[in-house]
Symmetry: C2
Subunit: 228 residues, 2 copies
């Protein structure tokens, strides 16, 4: 049995990736949610993850401590993690790896905060560049592999990897152009994303570091989260 260690659903974009993949593929797991403690969270997560970061997947003696490594670990054990077609698979892996290391400005300015709506204060050129690249990438995948998902007819790891960006599009009102915007709507209606979103809205704990980041991004037009 897998145990998936994650942080707050409202904030933790990296936790969302393996969680939504496992839910979408019906891979059973136990969830252990440990909220961000505020400040340096490393010591909080160190008992569960040697890097002091989440997500971490645990199975017996094995701990897999990064979202992309978790995906590959699952891909060795379950059908459907990656597209069956080799070309689509190479594309999907490249796109996931790019998400894993890049889109820094998007990640810094538009931090994931599922339950609020923000009118962005500014859009520096590097943010526009990140959004343009995202739109190009998504539209390429949707056109090339025929949709409705990024690498073809099935929800695979590359959709899971961009699920946090889908929530960012909703929170910050980002539009990507073309089919990519319809993809955002489709993704927001997927049962696994709906489940995560509803749990995020139900969370009553707040972590000031994440809240500050979202306040710096711009004026909040809505806060849909439950209050304590």
């Amino acid at each position: 049995m897998y145990e998936l260690v994650i942080a707050n659903k409202n904030y933790s974009s990296w936790s969302l990736r393996p969680w939504v993949l496992m839910r979408a593929l019906d891979i059973p797991f136990t969830e252990r949610l440990i909220p961000f403690p505020g400040g340096n969270s490393r010591s909080t997560y160190l008992p569960f993850s040697p890097s002091g970061r989440v997500p971490a997947l645990r199975e017996g003696e094995v701990t897999v401590w990064d979202s992309l490594a978790i995906v590959e670990y699952l891909a060795e054990r379950h059908v459907g993690v990656w597209p069956e077609d080799g070309i689509a698979r190479a594309w999907a892996r490249s796109a996931c790896a790019e998400m894993h290391s890049s889109f820094t400005t998007l990640r810094v300015i538009c931090t994931m905060n599922c339950g609020i709506r923000v009118d962005l204060a500014e859009r520096p050129p590097q943010l526009t560049a990140d959004i343009d690249r995202l739109g190009a990438l998504w539209n390429e995948g949707l056109a090339r592999f025929g949709g409705p998902f990024l690498a073809g007819v099935e929800f695979t790891a590359v959709d899971a990897f961009f699920a946090p960006v889908v929530f960012r599009c909703q929170t910050y009102g980002l539009t990507l152009g073309g089919e990519a915007d319809r993809y955002v709507s489709r993704m927001l209606a997927r049962p696994a994303l709906v489940q995560w979103y509803e749990a995020a809205l139900a969370e009553t704990f707040r972590e000031e570091g994440h809240e500050d980041e979202a306040r710096r991004a711009g004026r909040w037009t809505a806060d849909l989260r439950a209050t304590a």
Copy 2:
């Protein structure tokens, strides 16, 4: 036949990773080295890589445009990319993914510059934290899987992923403690790393952005690179 598109050997840590893996595993490929143009390099690399970044691996119609995706692409086609043992493989993948997304301070302050030696001007706490984590990770792998490589008796993708850090240890005089320091010495003597290093020293082009980064790091005690 594979074509691997890379940037300057002296500077491009991400290029080194698949290059040294393919050399170490005797996977034949054609190298296409396109030096950093200075300034924003995206348009230079865009004809070869949809993200505008290198490395990119090309095989027929397929372009794989990130170091970690390249590794997984090769792992589907060649024996020995990952450790055979499943537990070592999960560990190696986690360590690679951590390298891919983390160690930011080390990467920013101690940029890869194979041919110089630098006396670091300062070691902020976050740099020390990155070095401590590296030492812990390497020593864990070397102890757990018995060495001489990070995940056991063979050179695998996890060694390739940390090869740029090995060169950084040499350039900036970093020590990690215990067996990890002996691992650095062993790695520097590997034929594939020696080949890369010698080619890096022979390069005569310089890119001011990278040179500036290395000047900011501290006082240069040696510059072993060829001059034009």
